[in-house]
C-alpha cells in the first residue's frame, strides 16, 4: 500500500500500563504490556478487522490510536496528523475526523441526556452549527441516516431497545462528519436478529459517506463478512494480517489456525466433519508475557527457537504478513 492511499498509519505502537506500589512513595513494580509493538495501515474506504480473545489488547489498541490513552512508544498518524504530538486546533481536528462506536449501548449513552443532546454534543463541541434551528435540523438528519424516526429526539436512552441505542451511538459518531471510525465490538451486546441490522447499517453508511473503519471484534464469522483485511492479535502483538479470504482460507500462524477452527459453524454436517484444533490452557498474563514468541506456551508446533527469539514480522507475499518462524 502506498503512503498516499492510507488514511491511518500505526507504526511500532506500544502501550504499557504501569503497575504502582506504595501509598506515599509510589514506585513502578511492573507493567501490563497491553499493546507491544504493532504496525499496520488502513486505506481510505477500507475496513480493517482487529480480532482476538478478551485481554489480547484489541480495545486498548483502538483507544490508543484515537488518542484516548497516551501511547508509550511508536507513531500514529490519522490523515497525516500525528496523534501523539497534536495539540490545540490540530488535536480538535483529529478528534473531529476520528470517532468511536462503543460496545455497550447501555453504558455509552448518558441516561440523563435526551437523544437530541447526545447526538448534538459533537456538533456543539466542534461548533458545527450557526443557530439552534440548524442544530435541530442536523440532529434530525443524523437520526434519519441511522434509521430512527426524528420524532424520537426528545426521548431518553432507556426508552430505546439495544439495537436502537446502538443506532444512537452511531449517529453521535457520525455527527462530526468523521473520515475514520473505530468500531469497538459494536454488535456483540446485541441479539442475533438485531446484529445483521446494525452490520448492514454500518456497511451502507460506509458506502454513502466513504468511511474508513477499524472493526474490533471477537466474532470471526462477522469479521469475515464485513472486513476487507483482518489482523489477528494475541497477548498484545499482531500475529497475522492478510486480506480476508486469504486469512480465512490460508491461515499461516498456528494461533490463527486454532482460533478459526474453534469457531462454531451453524451447519450440523460441517460441524461433525470439521477438524477442531483445540488449544490447551489459558492465555498467559500480559504482566509477565512469555519470552520469544508470545504464543509458544500454547503452540502445538513450537520449536526451541520460538521460546528464545521474538519472530520477525514479515510479508509472505501478496500482503500476507505473519510473525512466526514456522509459517
Amino acid at each position: 500500500m502506498s503512503e498516499a492511499e492510507s488514511l491511518v498509519r500505526v507504526d511500532r505502537l506500544v502501550k504499557h500500563f504501569p503497575i504502582n506500589r506504595g501509598i506515599v512513595v509510589q514506585r513502578q513494580v511492573g507493567a501490563v504490556q497491553a499493546v507491544d509493538d504493532i504496525s499496520f495501515a488502513i486505506a481510505r474506504g477500507e475496513t480493517l478487522g482487529l480480532v482476538g480473545e478478551s485481554g489480547c489488547g484489541k480495545t486498548t489498541a483502538g483507544r490508543v490510536i484515537l488518542g484516548l490513552y497516551p501511547a508509550t512508544a511508536g507513531t500514529i498518524a490519522i490523515d497525516k496528523h500525528n496523534v501523539r504530538t497534536a495539540k490545540g486546533q490540530e488535536l480538535m481536528s483529529i478528534r473531529r475526523k476520528a470517532q468511536m462506536i462503543f460496545q455497550d449501548p447501555y453504558a455509552s449513552l448518558n441516561p440523563r441526556w435526551t437523544v437530541s443532546a447526545i447526538v448534538g454534543e459533537p456538533l456543539r463541541v466542534h461548533k458545527l452549527f450557526k443557530n439552534d434551528k440548524e442544530r435541530t435540523e442536523r440532529v434530525k438528519e443524523l437520526m434519519a441516516l441511522v434509521g430512527l424516526s426524528s420524532r424520537l429526539v426528545n426521548r431518553f436512552p432507556h426508552e430505546f431497545s439495544g439495537g436502537q441505542r446502538q443506532r444512537i451511538g452511531i449517529a453521535r459518531a457520525l455527527a462530526s462528519e468523521p473520515l475514520f471510525i473505530v468500531c469497538d465490538e459494536p454488535i456483540s451486546a446485541l441479539d442475533v436478529s438485531i446484529q445483521a441490522q446494525v452490520v448492514n447499517l454500518l456497511e451502507d453508511l460506509q458506502e454513502r459517506l466513504n468511511l474508513t473503519y477499524l472493526f474490533i471484534a471477537h466474532d470471526l464469522s462477522m469479521v469475515r463478512h464485513i472486513c476487507t483485511r483482518v489482523a489477528v492479535m494475541y497477548l498484545g502483538v499482531i500475529v497475522e494480517l492478510a486480506e480476508r479470504n486469504e486469512l480465512y482460507e490460508n491461515a499461516r500462524h498456528p494461533y490463527t489456525q486454532s482460533l478459526l477452527s474453534a469457531v462454531p459453524v451453524p451447519d450440523p454436517k460441517t460441524a461433525r466433519s470439521r477438524k477442531r484444533q483445540v488449544l490447551q490452557g489459558d492465555v498467559p498474563s500480559p504482566i509477565n508475557p512469555p519470552n520469544g514468541c508470545r504464543f509458544h506456551t500454547r503452540c502445538p508446533v513450537a520449536v526451541e527457537r520460538c521460546s528464545q527469539e521474538r519472530p520477525v514480522w514479515r510479508d509472505l507475499g501478496g500482503n500476507h504478513w505473519v510473525a512466526c518462524y514456522l509459517a
Partner: protein
C-alpha cells in the same frame, strides 16, 4: 434414537407480576426430553428459554413470579407440585444445572475445595476425607491439572474457563440423569468455548446423561445437539432434529435467523438478510402470532390467532399458519 421419555413438560406458563405490569415470560410450552439425548433450546434474550428451565426446577422467586399453569413430569412425579425439600433432592442429584456466569455461581469467599466437598457431603453423606479425595478426582476428570493443591484456591484464582470446569465437576459429582446447561460458554472466548464443549461431549458419553443446552448461538447447537427447540416471545415456534432444522427450517423466524448469520467457512456472497424490528414487549398479553409484526410471510390470520405447535413432517413441529413453499395458508 432415544425414545424413553424422561421429562415431559406440558403447557407450562410463567408470569412475573412487576410494578410496571405483568410480564408474560413463558406462554404454554410443551416438550419432551428423552433419556440420554441432547436437546438444545435456542432463542434470543428474553424469549423465555432460561425462565422455562428455572420454572421446572423451582428456581423462580414467587412472588413476583407465578407458575400460572402446566405440568413437568419427571419419572412419574410432577416437579411443579413437589415441596421445597423434595425438589432439593431432585436438584443437584438427579437434575443438575450449570449457569452462564461461573463467577457469580461460585461463592467468592469459600475455597473451591470447600464448595465441592460441601455438596458431596450433603448429597451423598460422605465424610470429609472421602469427599476431599472425590473432589480431587473430579477436578482431575474435568481437566484441571494439579487438582489436589488447587482445592485450596479461591474462585478468583481460576480463569473463566476453569471456573466453568469447576461448576461442571460439581454438578456432575452425583452423576445426574439430566444436565441443564444455561449458556455455559457464552461468557467465554472461542478457544475456551471449544475446550468446554469438548469436555462436555466427553463427559456426556461417560455419564450417559440427557442434556438440555440453552443458547442463542446457532453454531454451538449444530455441533452438539440432536434435537432443537426454537423459542420466540415465550412460545416454542419450531421443534426438529438438528439436521432437519438446519437443512429444512419451516418457521419464518428460524429461516430468517439462519439467513442472518455470516459463515466463518464461506466467502461473502451477499449482504446479510436482517430481520426488521425488535422482539415484542412481553408485558402485553399475547394476541395472534408473536412473530407476525416482523414476519415477511404473515397473512391475515397471523394477526388474530396464535398458531399451535403442529406436527408438519415426521418429528418436525412448527407453530405457523403459513405454508412457506406457497406463501398461502397451510
Amino acid at each position: 434414537m432415544h425414545d424413553t421419555p424422561l421429562l415431559q413438560v406440558t403447557d407450562l406458563r410463567t408470569r412475573f407480576h412487576t410494578p410496571e405490569g405483568t410480564v408474560y415470560a413463558v406462554n404454554g410450552i410443551s416438550y419432551t426430553l428423552y433419556e440420554g439425548e441432547t436437546l438444545a433450546v435456542v432463542g434470543e434474550s428474553g424469549c423465555g428459554k432460561s425462565v422455562s428451565m428455572m420454572s421446572i426446577l423451582g428456581l423462580i422467586p414467587i412472588p413476583p413470579g407465578e407458575i400460572a399453569g402446566g405440568t413437568a413430569i419427571y419419572r412419574g412425579k410432577d416437579l411443579l407440585k413437589l415441596s421445597e425439600s423434595e425438589l432439593e433432592h431432585v436438584r443437584g442429584k438427579e437434575i443438575a444445572m450449570v449457569f452462564q456466569d461461573p463467577m457469580t455461581s461460585l461463592n467468592p469467599v469459600l475455597t473451591i475445595g470447600k464448595q465441592i466437598t460441601e455438596s458431596l457431603q450433603k448429597h451423598t453423606g460422605m465424610n470429609l476425607e472421602d469427599a476431599t479425595r472425590r473432589a480431587t478426582e473430579l477436578l482431575d476428570w474435568v481437566g484441571i491439572s494439579d487438582a489436589h493443591s488447587r482445592l485450596c484456591n479461591y474462585p478468583h484464582q481460576f480463569s473463566g474457563g476453569m471456573r466453568q470446569r469447576v461448576m461442571i465437576a460439581m454438578q456432575l459429582a452425583c452423576t445426574p440423569t439430566v444436565l441443564i446447561a444455561d449458556e455455559p460458554t457464552t461468557a467465554l472466548d472461542v478457544t475456551i468455548q471449544a475446550q468446554i464443549m469438548e469436555l462436555v461431549i466427553r463427559l456426556r458419553e461417560q455419564v450417559g446423561m440427557a442434556m438440555i443446552w440453552i443458547t442463542h448461538n446457532l453454531g454451538v447447537v449444530a455441533g452438539l445437539a440432536e434435537r432443537v427447540i426454537v423459542m420466540y416471545a415465550g412460545y416454542i415456534v419450531e421443534e426438529a432434529s438438528v439436521d432437519e432444522l438446519y437443512e429444512n427450517p419451516r418457521h419464518p423466524y428460524t429461516m430468517a435467523l439462519l439467513a442472518s448469520l455470516p459463515r466463518v467457512d464461506r466467502r461473502r456472497d451477499r449482504r446479510l438478510k436482517s430481520i426488521p424490528g425488535a422482539p415484542p414487549n412481553l408485558q402485553v398479553e399475547p394476541h395472534g402470532c408473536p412473530f407476525a409484526p416482523r414476519c415477511e410471510l404473515a397473512i391475515e390470520r397471523c394477526w388474530s390467532d396464535n398458531p399451535p405447535l403442529d406436527l408438519v413432517l415426521p418429528r418436525h413441529k412448527i407453530a405457523c399458519w403459513v405454508d412457506i413453499e406457497t406463501g398461502g395458508p397451510r
